[in-house]
Symmetry: C2
Subunit: 379 residues, 2 copies
């Protein structure tokens, strides 16, 4: 009993946290509930049920399977399902017709061969990266519908009747999903991608702006941080870590975004590929930062006098490229171009040159810090 | 027509390439075809069809949806589907029974509310990372079955009959999938994960062993590489790039592997989590290598005399840690421990110390190369 109570409390706190992190999740769950209970009313609305019979089931099935978190994913799945059902249904009727020509004995054989060939070919096509990304669900539904229709063993006129029933219920289910997902608190994959890219830039900017102080303070700032009383918040030094593995998220958001109609600032043919390119540059940059951040905690530190020599230039360089990135991020957010970025980049480049001449005079191969620059300017 | 021919040729070459890269893909496609045409024979085998009627459809549906590339994914989906159907079916019958108590007018209302609450709660539970990773498909099937059963509007005895039919056909479909996927050329997710981890280590080893030569040669080896005639193969310098983004693949393979029964060297409770930990260390290491590899192509190079001074120690350090990684990888592949690893690590550490004293004497903060060591030794 005590164990059960702990479990309930644990689940409740986790639920609260998930909901508070992103309230759209709660809304999404309610939207799915709404769509399903709406569709299930078809069963009770006699004229509809009499028209469709058991095919009403396909409306429920469609809603459950098609309704996804973002509008793009829902539209993509819905369109995939609709088109694949149509295409496979037509092919299935054709295959069934061909098979009946070969007589009652030959029919199962011919149909099995058809199913084998089409299922194998379609399954293999799922390994193509382009198909996997956008049409994976459509191919599954294609195999399913083709098998069901060609094999069902009904007469052609009954098949046509059934096909019409199923198609229209699938259409209804799909429309309910799309309408609810677009018009009630929509979650746009494109908007999410846009925000994610800007947020990732800001995380890198946080790090770069804080890095200089952190790295050079760690040697002679012990008494200062002790006098602060509490250790100040270092979370800005960890934020970039989530950028390292953002590739999968960005790619799936971009794939969903391609299905979305125009909304807010985004048109239908918004250049989502560009986001992926910027995203991969940001990731490149975050790899350098991961290497940089080791310098803070490394056991092997440069001699103090050397550090003091490069301190000014390094802090300047890092914080100016951080500022440039932050300006870029806010430029992305508001979709405007800002002149101030160039100033920061120029400042940062000056600092780089200063550092370079300091290094030349004291010799070493310190290309390490300089490597942030190409990535920062490129993005 | 010309366009069509180009398309066909393009698709054919791509298909050949996909098939040659991993012939198991072709076999997988054939296996799906086999399973489907086998299940579709149920329609023609009269005693079976008369027993199950239209429910035969659920066998086809199960095969199409459950059959996945790896054994683990197939088992996971099959078990999810079976258990979720059972649970949701029972709950659905219960809900239906409760609703009938509230009279003919109240029934649709009560049922809609049930469906709404359960669908919303189950949809929300899909946001929990733990559920998302392993039971996502089960939750979808739970929502689907509950809605279908509770709403279907049949009398209780007919529901039980239908439920038995559907469950047994789903069971049959699932068993066909599992048997074919386990006994005909199985693709084990666990084995794939195991190989992937070893392969990733080898890619890093390739880089580390080649890096020293590449970095120090680029200055004074111009006439040499020209005399070679052709530029030598540099692919070993690029191999590690695929490691940077391996997280998603590793995690999904580990999730699938947990469903797999013992096979080859792997027991049922094989510690798959450890693979993820090693994988993340390898990734950490690859981030350092990404930063290192910039040194090769960077415009800013250290002065030649300085490079010459550190050359011996650097090459030794890098190639010895590469060798240690290669030994580790072959140790992982054969599941043995090798004593020679310690020797390479000791060599590498000696080289590190040499380099450190050279650097101390010539001053700079060159902690850069040293940072590979912790990651290499930790893994």
């Amino acid at each position: 009993w005590w164990w059960f109570k702990a479990l309930v409390v644990g689940v409740a706190t986790k639920t609260m946290k998930l909901g508070r992190d992103d309230p759209r999740r709660v809304i999404h769950a309610l939207k799915v509930g709404l769509a399903l209970s709406f569709v299930s009313l078809f069963y009770y609305f006699r004229p509809l049920y009499n028209g469709f019979g058991d095919a009403t089931m396909w409306a429920v099935l469609t809603v459950v399977v098609v309704f996804e978190y973002t509008v793009g994913a829902t539209l993509g799945k819905g369109l995939n399902r609709g088109l694949a059902t149509l295409l496979a249904g037509a092919l299935g009727v054709g295959a069934h017709h061909l098979a009946t020509l070969s007589g009652e004995k030959g029919e199962p054989m011919v149909l099995s061969i058809f199913v084998f060939i089409l299922a194998a070919a379609a399954t293999f096509s799922r390994f193509f990266p382009g198909i996997k990304a956008r049409y994976d669900y459509g191919v599954v539904i294609f195999i399913l519908t083709f098998s069901l229709v060609s094999v069902s063993g009904y007469h052609a006129d009954k098949i046509l009747h059934l096909a019409r029933q199923r198609l229209s219920t699938i259409l209804m289910g799909g429309c309910v999903c799309m309408i609810i997902s677009i018009f009630i608190c929509p979650v746009w994959a494109g908007q999410d991608l846009h925000n994610l890219i800007a947020l990732n830039m800001e995380k890198l900017a946080d790090f770069l702006e804080g890095f200089g102080g952190e790295y050079f303070e760690s040697d002679h700032g012990d008494e200062k941080s002790a006098s602060d009383g509490s250790k100040s918040d270092k979370s800005f030094l960890q934020g970039y870590k989530s950028v390292l593995n953002s590739k999968a998220t960005e790619e799936s958001l971009a794939n969903f975004a391609r299905w979305e109609p125009c909304h807010g600032f985004f048109r239908f043919f918004h250049p989502w590929d560009q986001y992926l390119k910027v995203g991969s540059l940001i990731r490149q940059c975050s790899y350098r930062i991961e290497a940089l951040s080791d310098c803070i905690n490394s056991d092997i530190q440069a001699p103090l006098e050397f550090k003091k020599e490069i301190q000014g230039a390094c802090i300047k360089m890092s914080s100016e490229s951080g500022k440039a990135l932050r300006e870029l991020a806010s430029g992305v957010r508001t979709m405007t171009q800002k002149g101030s970025i160039d100033i920061h980049i120029a400042n940062s480049k000056n600092a780089t040159n200063d550092l370079n001449s300091i290094l030349k005079s004291t010799l070493p191969k310190n290309a390490d810090l300089l490597q942030i620059m190409p990535a920062a300017t490129a993005s």
